[in-house]
Amino acid sequence: MATAALTHDAHDAHEHEHEHHEQNFIQKYVFSEDHKMIAKQYLITGIIWAFIGGLLSILFRLQLGFPDMKLDGLRWLLGEWINPEGKLESEFYLALVTMHGTIMVFFVLTAGLSGTFSNFLIPLQIGARDMASGFLNMLSYWFFLVASIIMLSSLFISTGPAAGGWVIYPPLSAIPTASNGSGMGMSLWLVAMALFIVSQLMGGLNYVTTIINLRTRGLSFSKLPLTIWSFFLTAVLGILSFPVLLSAALLLIFDRNFGTSFYISEIYIGGEALPQQGGSAILFQHLFWFLGHPEVYIVLLPALGITSEVIATNARKPIFGYRAMIGSMLGITLLAFIVWAHHMFVTGMNPFLGSVFMFLTLIIAVPSAVKGFNYITTLWRGNIVFTPAMLFSIGLVSLFIAGGVTGIILGNAALDIQLHDTYFVVAHFHLVMGSASFFGLMAGVYHWFPKMYGRMMNNTLGYIHFWLSFIGVFCVFFPMHYIGIAGFPRRYYSFSTYDMTNSFADLNQFISVAAIITFAAQGIFAFNFFYSIFKGKKSVQNPWRSTTLEWTTPVVVGHGNWEGPIPAVYRWPYDFSKPGAVEDFIPQTVPFSATPESNLPEENEQIALEKTIEELHPYQKEVSAKSGGH
């Protein structure tokens, strides 16, 4: 495509001609190839998905918290899923948890988080006019949207959506007679996920290519903001692991439709013995978790990257241990690929493998701990400004610690025997991965909203939103540890047959009420977000007094991002509160030669290199911002 053409632009600044072409409505808002618009499309789709996913969780929390409640009032929405006694159908309960998990993990925290911020920030923070391929980027969003529509439509078919848990383990998911949800709903799930994976791959390849090739002059990898590092590693994780899920899904489709036996063997169901033999149900789990575990970091790393940026900016301090932060992210990325089987300690896998995976899993706690300590040390002797984004970032660190420590327990194979598939696991991953990533997403939205829309969100509403969410998620997920320690299994429609005497009815009621309040609090955010797009106070160019490149663009960023030439980068992104400096921040675009008063000795040596950076200018690769290319 011409749009992807890289041009060696040897012209002077005024000849760059990145003037704003008049685009019609469809080009600008619908089939846009502009990374900023695509980011907003991802964000808004993600927000809609988050509300749908949240609503589903409220429905099953009603069942868990108030098992005797008559839900006839919901019949207009759920139809026959409310049985004649006015209760939720147990099959639909499973469909709800399945869809909640699928939506939250993939459609909100993968697409909504990476899709939004990788798209939005990569070109802006590395000094590029757009993504390496705007067209591929557009396709990525549209594949995601089609996947979304298919997944959503599965909620409305008569047999209901997939109901085998978000992990869709066969044979339950492979045999339509095993469960209603394994019929059409499962087919739609698989098709939607296949399209989703295609979308993620197109996005991921674009992110990696863009970061490697389109950095502005002077911006070496060792000067990249941690956000970009996190997006880069997230994309690498996705590129390497999503294809494995795609192949797992394809084999499952073969098993379902073409009578193969990749995953099914020796099954007697519905009064007959199936002919398939020799398959392995465990094979699917290996393939699934080979994606599934990196997926945890696919949703978490961008959140950690965003947090690094927000905490440094608002503590007015350089992020502590920049290189260690990169190192720990690299370590997490690498280890993420070799810990998957800790989800499978009690599947009957060889116990020796269990030992190996226990060891590898607990190693991953080390880089995670380093990140936690580095965040805390960044706050130490800072001068902290509590913007809503900063509060959400601190909230993320707190959730990351609270959820992370129980990972050490669950990663221990011997302890996992008892805790596996109980509410302890639910508590653990909702804190460390679900809520932490969600808080990262929120931090990102509050922080970069001014750059997205040229307006500010309302701080007061932001504070209320934060406090309700922060207290809310702890109220929801912390008590689940107790239920898990008491041995209560997850994905149970009702505990009446589990343990009649100690059913934790009180606690489940409390959790459900807290969940409803927390969910309702997100309405404050939605209002604030959509209201501020149109009516928010106009933003200034650099509202948070930050150092990175995106804040050197105009308040309302046009097509091509910078009106003049793309600025060069001379320093790392965390020169906050540098001794001797006039302001408490020095943007990346300020050369060391302009700040002799604050330079460190080794930085004075770099002044000599500034000429070399400038000389690179004529050779800088630039992607064309015009829709037709140069």
């Binding site: 149900a281 009690v346 701990a369 902290i384 221990n412 302890l415 008892q418 009702s494 409390f510």
Partner: protein
């Protein structure tokens, strides 16, 4: 319960009102300010709320833990369970300490270093020694934890002792079936999923002589004090055997038999006494999502003193004795041996006028074996 909910609602409401009130005062104050980011009253409130909420949250956490603890499972009734429980609570103590130390630092720093126009943050980008310390210390702690966990894991997953009593548990939508190797020897008969039908629910293969004395039960009886090897399989989809009190969990996988061995240490009667609950019953629950009836897929479990267990087993008729029509699946050379089990079975537990059915069955079996 209602008061807890009410309390929560009230706390959240008050908090909202306080924040709203203070914020509106503050936003009015500097609405004219050029830079929306100039920290003012709101900054102080948020800075203060962080440690306050942490403190209140910790108090609520401790209180709720004490409240919930009586509902935790009673002390484990298996040998390995004692080890895993001890380790669990020790490790919980370690990670809870880590949680509190880091959280205190996080919230105290956030409060202490809140924005002050008179101050500037300290430019402190790196300290290699510090970083080395907090890389190495967690690494060592992890190494110790891994080592301890690995030793317990190795013991639990080691080969079952040769004299372990074998019981087979089969999961199907949505109940469990137990099979015992009978009184003769500790050998279960072989099986084949293609032999499954409405009566022979686990597909016992009658061409194997070890099958003749196999006993089927819908309640899981476990002998106390001897190693028990559970052989676990599934008929249709994944299930998972979970014996919460015995700290046992293992998936049931169609086409791939799994196993778990343990030694029960408390009989059902002893547990009734210990928990002071005359209605106490052990149970086996499914912990792998298996469809619509997953939540109700439960099996009653009874742990008996070993001699009581043997006595119970003696009263049980073998599958073949109960369903003598399956004699026609027995090959001719083993027929005599099989007949012995059906006869002795019906002698010990005379039942339900099966005699005529028996004779016709054996007659047809004879013809079948000729084919």
């Amino acid at each position: 319960m209602v008061y807890i909910v009410g309390l929560l609602a009230a706390v959240l409401l008050v908090l909202t009102l306080v924040v709203l009130n203070r914020m509106s005062v503050f936003t009015k104050g500097f609405a004219s300010a050029q830079d929306a980011n100039t920290p003012g009253m709101a900054n102080k409130i948020n800075a203060a709320l962080l440690p306050i909420v942490f403190l209140l949250g910790s108090a609520a956490g401790v209180w709720s833990f004490v409240e919930a603890a009586p509902k935790f499972l009673p002390s484990p009734s298996s040998e390995h369970g004692v080890h895993t429980d001890t380790m669990f609570w020790w490790f919980m103590a370690i990670v809870t300490t880590a949680f509190f130390l880091t959280s205190i630092l996080l919230f105290v720093f956030a409060f202490k270093y809140q924005y002050d126009p008179k101050r500037r943050a300290t430019f402190y980008p790196v300290n290699h020694r510090l970083e080395l310390a907090w890389t190495v210390v967690p690494a060592i702690v992890m190494a110790i934890m891994v080592f301890m966990g690995w030793r317990v894991w190795r013991d639990i997953t080691s080969e079952a002792p040769a004299d372990a009593y074998v019981i087979e548990v089969t999961g199907k939508q949505f109940n469990w079936i137990a099979r015992y190797p009978g009184v003769d020897n500790n050998k279960l008969g072989s099986y084949n999923y293609k032999l499954i039908d409405a009566t022979n629910e686990v597909g016992i293969d009658m061409t194997d002589e070890n099958s003749f004395d196999d006993v089927i039960s819908n309640t899981l009886y476990i002998p106390k004090g001897v190693p028990v090897l559970l052989k676990i399989r599934a008929r249709d989809v994944l299930h998972s055997v979970f014996l919460p009190h015995l700290r046992v969990k293992m998936d049931a996988v169609p086409g791939m038999p799994t196993k778990f061995w343990f030694k029960a240490t408390k009989s059902t009667d002893e547990m009734k006494a210990e928990t002071n609950d005359p209605k106490f019953e052990y149970r086996l629950n499914c912990t792998e999502i298996c469809g619509q009836g997953h939540f109700s897929m439960k099996m009653n479990v009874v742990v008996l003193e070993e001699e009581d267990f043997q006595a119970w087993l003696k009263t049980q008729k073998s599958f073949l004795a109960t369903n003598a029509s399956y004699l026609d699946r027995v090959p001719a050379r083993l027929k005599a041996k099989a007949m012995k089990y059906t006869e002795s079975g019906s002698e010990e537990a005379p039942a339900e006028g099966e005699a005529p059915a028996d004779s016709t069955a054996s007659a047809s079996a004879a013809t079948a074996s000729l084919r």
